[in-house]
């Protein structure tokens, strides 16, 4: 019994592949980046259905749901979260997590505000903010890979640390006199479209991230180290270097999100972005990225952004008790983690039941039945 439990725990990271492996036909031969998409596709087709269901129910509950103007609003309020979800997906696939993204956003926003208040030229400020993002990510990455601390602990620490830096930099000040050229970009659509700029940036980044993750050796190595970091190291992959670079990319993306957030609200204040990390992680898990690492796709992230934004917006338009939106975010998060493992658990129960019935007539109860292969 113990050995079965262990097997279950060990397999939890690669549930759907394992189920797929049981079936007749082509085995898990394709182990490259695109091959790994195959099991993920099943989750994604589920997400497509979810998005369609949200669209249908949203428009049934509120006639304004499927209007261009509403889509613009919906995108505007989701852009920064969506951008931060891309590197977060890579980090979670690699077997780590970055909970500090909301504070990196806040710190970048504070730097932007302080330097603008000190009359720096905007392009120089962008350069400094980018450096801040890179440094924030590098601190996370180096503490995780070189010092060997768990990323959960490290990024909870920097979640508080970077917010603290934002508070020291800005104090009670609010910087709000940003040039209209930038703040307009934060609240208007890309010309000739209904897409906010932040969503446009997200789409471009999503394409780049998809190519990098699914079609380059770098991307494939992220899956390998998420499956088994030790094996990846023995196979000659630069696990530490790759993971550090993922944290740096996350820091940079969060800094970009910080700039967009500041211009959208025309406000640099120390609590900008508080609470967004949970939304980002929720989207990534809803995308089918395994919290245990080694599984997920950018296509899933794209669909999860649509589902998440659509659901939140539908809840707003239907006079849903807003105090309860936390239930929805939290529930989505739990279910995204639970469903793959629930399938695993049911399979385990079924095997146990099969063994039990087979055992009854002949085998003595004490002996351990051999696992089916």
């Amino acid at each position: 019994m113990d050995s079965d439990l262990n097997a279950m725990a060990g397999n939890a990271a690669m549930t759907p592949e394992h189920i797929a492996g049981e079936e007749p036909g082509p085995g898990p031969g394709a182990s490259g980046g695109w091959g790994r998409l195959r099991p993920a596709m099943r989750w994604e087709s589920g997400l497509v259905v979810v998005v369609i269901v949200i669209a249908i129910m949203g428009s049934a509950l509120s006639p304004e749901f499927l209007t261009a103007n509403n889509f613009f609003n919906l995108g505007l309020n989701t852009g920064e979260i969506a951008i931060m979800a891309l590197p977060m997906a890579l980090i979670i696939i690699s077997g780590e997590i970055d909970l500090s993204v909301e504070s990196t956003l806040g710190m970048s926003s504070a730097v932007l505000g302080v330097l603008w208040a000190d009359h720096w030229p905007m392009l120089a400020i962008f350069a400094v903010v980018a450096v801040v993002g890179v440094l924030a990510g590098a601190v996370n990455g180096l503490l995780v890979t070189r010092v060997g601390l768990p990323s959960l602990a490290v990024t909870i620490g920097t979640l508080a640390l970077y917010r603290g830096i934002a508070l020291i930099l800005l104090g009670p000040r609010t910087v709000a006199n940003f040039p209209a050229f930038y703040t307009n970009a934060g609240t208007t659509a890309i010309p000739h479209t209904d897409l906010p700029w932040s969503i446009g940036i997200f789409i471009v980044l999503a394409v780049i991230f998809a190519i990098v993750l699914h079609a380059t050796p770098f991307g494939r190595s992220i899956y390998a180290m998420g499956d088994n970091a030790e094996a990846a190291t023995f196979a000659g992959l630069r696990v530490k270097r790759v993971k550090t670079s993922l944290f740096v990319i996350s820091g940079l993306a969060s800094a970009l999100a910080g700039v967009l957030y500041t211009f959208r609200l025309n406000t640099a204040v120390q609590d900008n972005g508080t609470g967004l990390s949970l939304d980002v992680v929720a989207i990534v898990l809803l995308a089918g990225v395994s919290i245990f690492g080694g599984k997920g796709s950018i296509g899933g992230v794209f669909l999860a952004v649509l589902a998440f934004a659509g659901l939140q917006n539908a809840l707003l338009l239907t006079n849903f008790n807003q105090e309860a939106t936390g239930l929805v975010t939290g529930g989505l998060l739990l279910i995204s983690v639970f469903v793959p493992n629930a399938a695993m658990f049911v399979r385990y129960l079924r095997q146990a039941a099969r063994r039990a019935t087979r055992r009854l007539p002949s085998e003595p109860a004490l002996s351990m039945p051999r696992r089916d292969t």
Partner: protein, 357 residues
């Protein structure tokens, strides 16, 4: 079974979303919506020619804040009661955190839903203005209450003059600590317009008390846990502190909780803005001697009437224009298109039991 398992993620996730939306559909009937049908007789004097049946959205800084619940609810005689009495349909909506990022989507949703008037307490005027200006361009009446957004609204309902709040709280505290000693301020969010304006007048008033020294202003973000934490920090960092002013109902309640021990009771005085119901315990046990507040339900009620009258066409916003706000009587629009509710009420052991909000 195997087929089910293969589709388990799909089926389960679809189920989840479907049930979430079903909950949303059901709860919309239970949300804070009040319709006009209940009280046809209560319409104000000016509404003879006014359009009725309008959609008015009340958008406080955040939901779950007792102050705004009192200001907005129908049961307390707040904004929704006035909107209903004026013959319109009122709905309260907002985000859950008192930040612009959380409030803006609610404003956008109200506009999308075809609002005729918005009654808004601005979390952050600069952040809200593009959205509120967009609303005004669509001929939606924008009335602010509690916290103003001066450049993007028709009318502001001012709960009390900024200077009166700031100066009177310093005077209250000065009386309690004998005009001398270190004092601190427990504020809400660092970016809150009204908080910073009051604190500005407090600093000005403090120049009249040379022996009183403001040592720190800390920010509890209108979150009980944060406010408790920053109050404790303030007391530890400045052990000689004699008094605390907290011009926020969440802050003063948290601070009173911290001071309600033998170590501090009677030694550190506390005043500020609080609701009588929440502070009764601390006034009766001597932790707090006096604090003040306007009646938030009256504030919401006045805002509700003003918004309904402007959107209905019976009130043109201009300095000197007057309108009748039901049970509260007649009000006059003052400079900068602002209406003043009246002077704040000071609550002490003598009168606190006469109030119920």
């Amino acid at each position: 079974m195997r087929a089910f398992l293969r589709r388990a993620p799909l089926a389960a996730s679809t189920l989840v979303v479907a049930s979430a939306l079903a909950v949303a559909a059901c709860s919309s009937s239970g949300s804070a919506t009040s319709s006009s049908s209940s009280s046809p007789s209560g319409s104000g004097s000016g509404s003879a020619t006014a359009k009725t049946g309008l959609k008015v959205f009340v958008i406080p800084k955040n939901l779950g804040n007792p102050y705004f619940t009192t200001a907005d609810s129908k049961g307390t005689g707040g904004a929704l009661a006035a909107i209903s009495a004026a013959g319109d349909t009122g709905t309260e909506t907002s985000g859950t955190a008192a930040t612009s990022a959380s409030q803006i989507p609610a404003i956008q949703a109200a506009i999308t839903k075809g609002a005729n008037a918005l009654i808004v307490s601005a979390t952050d005027p600069t952040a809200l203005c593009p959205t509120l200006n967009g609303a005004m361009k669509r001929k939606i009446t924008v009335v602010t209450y509690d916290s103003d957004a001066p450049t993007c609204r028709s009318l502001f309902i001012n709960q009390a003059s900024t200077s009166a709040i700031g100066t009177s709280e310093v005077d209250l505290l000065a009386k309690e600590i004998g005009d001398s000693g270190e004092i601190g301020i427990v504020s809400a969010a660092a970016s809150a317009t009204n908080q910073n304006a009051w604190i500005g007048y407090m600093k000005q008033e403090l120049t009249k008390y040379p022996k009183m020294k403001l040592v720190a202003t800390v920010y509890g973000n209108d979150d009980p846990a944060t406010a408790t934490q920053v109050t404790q920090g303030l007391l530890e960092q400045y052990p000689n502190i004699k008094g605390i002013i907290s011009p926020t109902t969440v802050g003063i309640l948290a601070a009173a909780g911290v001071l309600d021990t033998a170590k501090y009771r009677g030694k550190v005085q506390l005043t500020g803005l609080g609701t009588p119901d929440s502070m009764k315990k601390y006034v009766s046990d001597g932790t707090v001697k006096a604090f003040e507040l306007w009646n938030p339900a009256n504030l919401g009620y006045l805002a509700g009437y003003a918004a309904a009258d402007i959107a209905g066409g019976s009130l043109k916003v201009a300095q000197g224009a007057t309108f009748k706000a039901g049970k509260l009587g007649t009000f006059t629009i003052g400079a900068d298109n602002t209406v003043l509710l009246g002077p704040p009420t000071v609550f002490t052991t003598a009168n606190i039991n006469n109030f119920n909000f």
